[in-house]
């Protein structure tokens, strides 16, 4: 397809620690199309953040290393790109915003100073022009008194405002893809609503594709077109937002949705998945979710299930689908 912006194929990122090799991301494949918002959902330890950091080669190495797979951005494999090339990609082509707007900004420089630096790395313009560009970007993300804010320090802004500054900085070089790693997790709900609205506006008006990493299925429902569900380093299910939330196929996704307390309607007792999230381990035999799965049978503990294609781009990693109609995916690197 022409309009694929980003394509991950069999990406594996391992950490080499004293406790041995940890496959934090294990053969992850998915695509992001132009103008699309794709959500990567999972609990802590699912590998969602490591996936997003791998794309921009921001994994500290050692101990981390991309051991196999490719990251194709507009056809170019970023997994093989040089550091010099990556510097051009970061910010210019792909920007990233993080969870903690407090720690992502330098407390001893003004907002304008930090934004100018980011702008002038990527564009050869004068200091004055860069300041004007910074003010223009701050206005775009809805910051009032932008002319004054450029001369203020991060501590003078609230959490929501700092996250807006981060987004303004990320958008200043007009990237094709924005990676947002838990952008609203540290914010209150009324501020979260403002930031989600801003991201929707950017997606619609600037046609920026967004890869959103989150643990919150409510945020997913609000902004994402398609969803990738991860568990213990692997993709367990893929589909459109509606399919995943309304008709989840993998027992983990089903359990996750059923364990959420609802805001409307009544429920007596919450469903809960027994046990805790499995830590990724090398040479693990069997499905990673099997110890917590209520449908697990013998095979689940002996073999690793592949992703099964369920038609219309839906995939699910569960042996239950062998009993249903659905052809087996040859390899995790084939089409989505």
């Amino acid at each position: 397809m022409e309009d694929v912006i980003l394509e991950l194929s069999g990406l594996s990122t391992h950490f080499f620690t004293d406790q041995g090799e940890i496959p934090a991301v294990d053969k992850v494949s998915f695509r992001v199309h132009k103008g699309e918002v794709v959500g990567v959902v999972g609990e802590s330890g699912s590998g969602k953040s490591v996936t997003s950091l791998s794309i921009l080669q921001l994994i500290p190495s050692p101990p981390g290393k991309i051991v196999s797979g490719s990251i194709r951005y507009k056809g170019e494999d970023l997994a093989k790109a040089t550091e010099k090339r990556m510097k051009r990609i970061r910010g210019n082509e792909i920007s990233m915003i993080f969870q903690e707007p407090m720690t992502s900004l330098n407390p001893v420089f003004t907002i304008g100073n930090q934004m100018r630096e980011a702008i002038r790395i990527h564009q050869k313009i004068s200091k004055k022009a860069a300041t004007e560009k910074a003010i223009q970007m701050l206005k775009l993300v809805g910051i009032p008194r932008a002319e004054d804010i450029v001369n203020e320090y991060p501590h003078q802004l609230s959490g929501g405002m700092r996250q807006r500054v981060m987004i303004a900085m990320a958008m200043s070089s007009d990237p094709s893809l924005l990676i947002a790693d838990e952008p609203t997790t540290a914010l209150d709900v009324t501020i979260q609503a403002q930031i989600l609205d801003l991201m929707k506006k950017i997606n619609k008006e600037e046609h920026t594709s967004i890869l959103l990493i989150t643990h919150d299925l409510g945020v997913v429902a609000d902004i994402c077109d398609r969803v990738v569900v991860m568990y213990a380093g692997q993709v367990v299910e893929k589909g459109t937002t509606r399919e995943i939330l309304k008709d989840p196929q993998h027992p983990y996704t089903q359990g996750l949705i059923r364990s959420l307390p609802k805001l409307h309607g009544r429920e007596e007792k919450l469903y809960s998945i027994p046990g805790t999230v499995a830590r990724p381990k090398k040479d693990r035999v069997g499905c990673r979710f099997a110890p917590r799965c209520e449908f697990a049978f013998e095979r689940c503990f002996k073999e690793n299930p592949e992703l099964y294609q369920l038609g219309d781009g839906r995939e699910s990693r569960c042996f239950l689908h062998t009993e249903k109609k659905g052809e087996r995916l040859e390899d995790a690197t084939t089409n989505t």
């Binding site: 409510g218 997913v220 429902a221 939330l245 307390p261 805001l263 809960s272």
Partner: protein, 325 residues
């Protein structure tokens, strides 16, 4: 009507701000500003609000872990703000707390047995073997095993640690437990386990909870009645069905509309509030919410609205409902 187990009247907590070369008091942060409510025996009262609204300070002031500046806290009819430290120590047997961060609230150098056994020792269980037996019993109650007693906190996951925190709170058979964000540090799949456990324990031991959290869906699930706080004040308090289906205060309405729900079929008319929460060191005059309120009138910036019943047992502090009591 049943006697309330806890009655909070006009509770205030002001933190002084020191400044200048001499460190003189230059102002006050009004963390909790005139909050009143009652808790009935056996109920779960939820308190929700955004960060800085004073919900945790309210919880800690009730236990006098933070000394309230003004107001009374009546536990079973007695005003505990007048109690001396020895009386207070005895009373803490009946009032316990569960903290948010299961990583920070357990001493890493102590075994689980020591952590859970400590409150037993403090409240007079001198025999070591008796304590050991009780600790094992408590571990079973919260879904852990007796052999966990000899382990250290770092050997447990977040959910298991929160179970240890709950076991510690239960040790002396309290009547009231204040739960300060007990599940917000946990993953969704573990969160539901802890919520279910807390409900089971409530039924089994006739407990009363004050459940403080920022997550509206979690509070909805577990509470019988819910109070909403904004900038140190209680703005609305009623039964959970009424609060979630017919919120009366404009802030509650905006808060509920801002929660993204994991259901693509729910199309919401979202009320986006402008700006941020004002600083509690310098709260707006009149109604604290008037700077962001879509329905603000002239009176709102001048006179602070009374927290009064609008409907049967539906308390709201808003001028829109003036003259409707």
């Amino acid at each position: 009507m049943q006697q309330p187990i806890l009655e909070v009247n006009g509770l205030k907590k002001y933190f002084p701000i020191h400044g200048g070369v001499l460190g003189k008091k230059v102002g006050e942060v009004k963390a909790v500003d005139d909050v009143s409510f009652q808790v009935r025996p056996g109920e779960i009262l939820g308190i929700v609000g955004e960060s800085g609204c004073g919900k945790s300070t309210t919880g800690k002031s009730i236990l006098r872990l933070i000394e309230p500046s003004e107001g009374e806290v009546k536990f079973e009819g007695q005003d505990i703000t007048t109690f001396g430290s020895e009386e207070m120590r005895k009373l803490r047997k009946d009032m316990q707390i569960i903290f948010q961060d299961p990583y920070a609230s357990l001493n890493p150098r102590h075994t689980v047995e020591k952590i859970i056994g400590e409150p037993l020792l403090v409240h007079g269980m001198k025999s070591k073997s008796e304590r050991k037996k009780r600790v094992q019993e408590l571990l079973e109650v919260v879904g852990l095993s007796a052999y966990h007693a000899s382990r250290y906190p770092h050997q447990f996951s977040g959910g298991q640690r929160q179970r240890i925190g709950i076991a510690r709170a239960l040790a002396n058979n309290p009547k009231l437990i204040i739960c300060d964000e007990p599940v917000s540090a946990l993953d969704v799949s573990v969160q539901s386990q802890i919520l279910n456990l807390m409900e089971e324990l409530r039924d089994e031991f006739n407990l009363t909870y004050i459940f403080i959290a920022h997550d509206l869906s979690v509070v909805k699930h577990i509470s019988d009645r819910v109070g909403v706080m904004y900038l140190g004040r209680m703005v609305e308090l009623t039964d959970k069905e009424k609060l979630y289906e017919e919120p009366k205060h404009p802030y509650t309405q905006a808060l509920l509309s801002a929660v993204p729900e994991p259901d693509p079929d729910i199309v919401k008319e979202r009320i986006i509030l402008e700006g941020d929460v004002p600083s509690p060191a310098n709260p707006p005059a009149g109604c604290a919410f008037h700077t962001r309120c879509p329905f603000a009138m002239d009176i709102c910036s001048q006179i602070r609205p009374e927290f009064q019943p609008v409907d049967n047992q539906h308390f709201v502090a808003c001028h829109l409902y003036d003259g409707r009591q």
